[in-house]
């Protein structure tokens, strides 16, 4: 049954007890992500040190098991990585989800790769791919955004 591939133990665990679900104090980068379809939201907080290394990363948000697990696993894995390394991991993850079914980056250990691969099940559920990728795209926005851009999502009142 395909469903068990999607809702593996590890996903359910991270989904119910997400790691890093908080707001980093003194964060210096952040971004918000929305899935307009279902209303899921995520807010990523990043603290990079002077060497552009991720000192802390956290998230706030609400969403399905897939999206919470994905954000939880992601934040766990990129902590301690440098900005460029983070980008490489994000890219590799997105490729895995959309095309290759493989995690190739050398920046992750084997058990970390296994964790990520747990999310590969969503490929069979195209409408759910966005749930898995939302936090990753938002992480990229956080890294790429200059301070003024962050305000560009202001509401039209």
């Amino acid at each position: 049954m395909k469903l068990t591939e999607l809702y593996q133990e590890i996903i359910l665990d991270h989904g119910k007890n997400p790691r890093n679900l908080r707001k980093t104090e003194n964060f210096n980068k952040d971004a918000k992500g929305y899935n307009p379809l279902c209303g899921d939201k995520v807010h990523i907080y990043l603290k990079l040190n002077e060497n552009k290394k991720v000192e802390d990363v956290s998230f706030e948000g609400e969403g399905c098991a897939i999206s919470m697990a994905s954000a939880s696993i992601m934040t766990d894995l990129v902590k301690g990585k440098e900005e460029n390394e983070v980008k490489e991991i994000v890219e590799d993850f997105l490729k895995m989800i959309k095309e290759t079914d493989q995690i190739n980056t050398k920046l992750l250990k084997d058990d970390e790769k296994t964790k990520l691969m747990c999310l590969s099940g969503v490929k069979q559920y195209p409408m759910r791919v966005k749930c898995a990728t939302l936090s990753w795209h938002t992480l990229t926005s956080a890294i790429d955004k200059s301070q003024n851009e962050i305000n560009s999502e202001k509401m039209e009142i």
């Binding site: 049954m1 809702y7 279902c38 939201k41």
Partner: protein
């Protein structure tokens, strides 16, 4: 046509969907189509196709007559006074945009208020929101009560001397509440306020009577009403259609065009610019005929029975929390399950062929108010049966097992 085995009029149920019988509980999103409607589209395109209103050749004349026949059928179906009060649009969304834009242009000034409700679909909010920017209009929202209803009182409370329009749903696509439109309209008219009703969820399910409801505008989506996609209806009292400026400009809606200026055509042409949805309008006549044959009274009875049964079944399932408890509930049951996100529910249900919707159902304001980001929704059409709710319930139990809930 007996409503108890009406499923057979809908070809989609003849096929397996991923090896399952289809349990379609997403009709509030869009309904399935009876064979007569699809056949009509097919025949029209393959034997009778022509554009309407423009040419004088045989096919064009025939198409024009059929197109206008649908207008008359709709008029009768909703008991409008005059067939010219029926305007075909792209959908209910366009119908509401048409009114907000033209009414706003002509009648609204800075500081004027438009009164909506917390139940409104984005399609009955965003068009009014535009007037905040362009006209300095204020939007007010009538509060729902604990049952997810809007009452006459909740409307009355928010009416001020500045209120220039009340725009509200007839039947909530989330809580299922049926609003007391007639008394609200009476109240509004006593204060000279026009009323627009979003009838998307009511038109397929309730017996409508425009002259009795007496509202000024009524928006309908044909694809939710066993009709083709890409078609909606704006009912508007004739005086409004006469007084309001035109909306989109183009072929077919003009009287005379010169370089210096334009005179506009008569009703309802004034609001039907460009080539219209010829095939869809013509086929929609079959949807109306279908509903007339079944009988709206039978539809209402059938769906009432079902929705009662559905509530009973889901209430017994102690993980399920129903959203809203309106005294007068239409064909919609929204719910949440503690410990599971609606998206996960929908995905697991889908594996069994049970199609529901998960998300905010274009009602973010309502979900905010309820403290939710999303909910799961089972909504009905004439083709549903008690069995569908049993299947829904057993799939929900599967969800609970996978998510290890009790």
């Amino acid at each position: 046509m007996n409503i108890d085995n009406i499923k057979k009029e809908f070809p989609i149920f003849d096929n397996k969907i991923q090896n399952n019988d289809l349990v379609y509980l997403d009709s509030a999103n869009s309904s399935q189509k009876p064979k007569v409607v699809v056949d009509r589209i097919y025949d029209f395109y393959t034997k009778e196709f022509s554009n309407v209103g423009r040419s004088v050749h045989y096919l064009a004349v025939a198409a024009t007559n059929m197109y206008e026949n649908t207008r008359v059928s709709v008029q009768k179906f909703i008991n409008a006074k005059d067939k010219d009060e029926i305007v075909f649009t792209k959908g209910a969304t366009e119908a509401i945009n048409l009114v907000a834009s033209t009414y706003g242009q002509k009648y609204l000034k800075p500081g004027d208020e438009v009164l909506l409700t917390e139940l409104e679909h984005h399609s009955n909010y965003v068009p009014w929101h535009y007037l905040r920017k362009s006209k300095g209009v204020k939007l007010e929202f009538a509060d729902i009560n604990d049952e997810g209803e809007i009452t006459l009182e909740s409307i009355e409370k928010k009416i001020t001397t500045k209120t220039k329009m009340i725009a509200l749903t007839h039947l909530s696509n989330v809580t299922g509440a049926i609003l007391p439109i007639k008394v609200i309209t009476e109240l509004a008219h006593s204060k000279n306020i026009p009323v627009l009703v979003d009838g998307c969820q009511s038109a397929p399910h309730l017996k409508l009577d425009m002259q009795d409801l007496d509202c000024d505008f009524y928006a309908i989506s044909c694809h939710k009403m066993y009709g083709p996609t890409g078609l909606g209806i704006l009912y508007a009292k004739k005086k409004w259609l006469e007084e309001l400026p035109p909306y989109q400009g183009g072929g077919g809606m003009i009287r005379e065009v010169k370089k210096e200026g334009i005179t506009y055509g008569d009703l309802p042409n004034k609001y039907e610019a460009g080539t219209m949805q010829t095939a869809q309008v013509i086929a929609f006549n079959e949807s109306i005929k279908f509903l007339n044959t079944v009988g709206m009274k039978n539809v209402m009875e059938h769906e009432k029975k079902l929705i009662n049964y559905g509530q009973e079944v889901l209430r017994k399932n102690n993980s399920v929390k129903l959203i809203g408890n309106p005294k007068n509930r239409g064909a919609v049951l929204s719910f949440t399950i503690e410990g599971m996100h609606p998206h996960d529910i929908a995905t697991i249900l889908d594996e069994d062929g049970v199609a529901i919707r998960a998300g905010h159902h274009c009602c973010q304001i309502l979900h905010d108010k309820l403290g939710l980001t999303a909910s799961a929704r089972a909504s009905l059409g004439v083709y549903n049966t008690k069995d569908d709710f049993d299947k829904l319930n057993s799939s929900i139990n599967k969800c609970k097992k996978i998510f290890e809930l009790k």
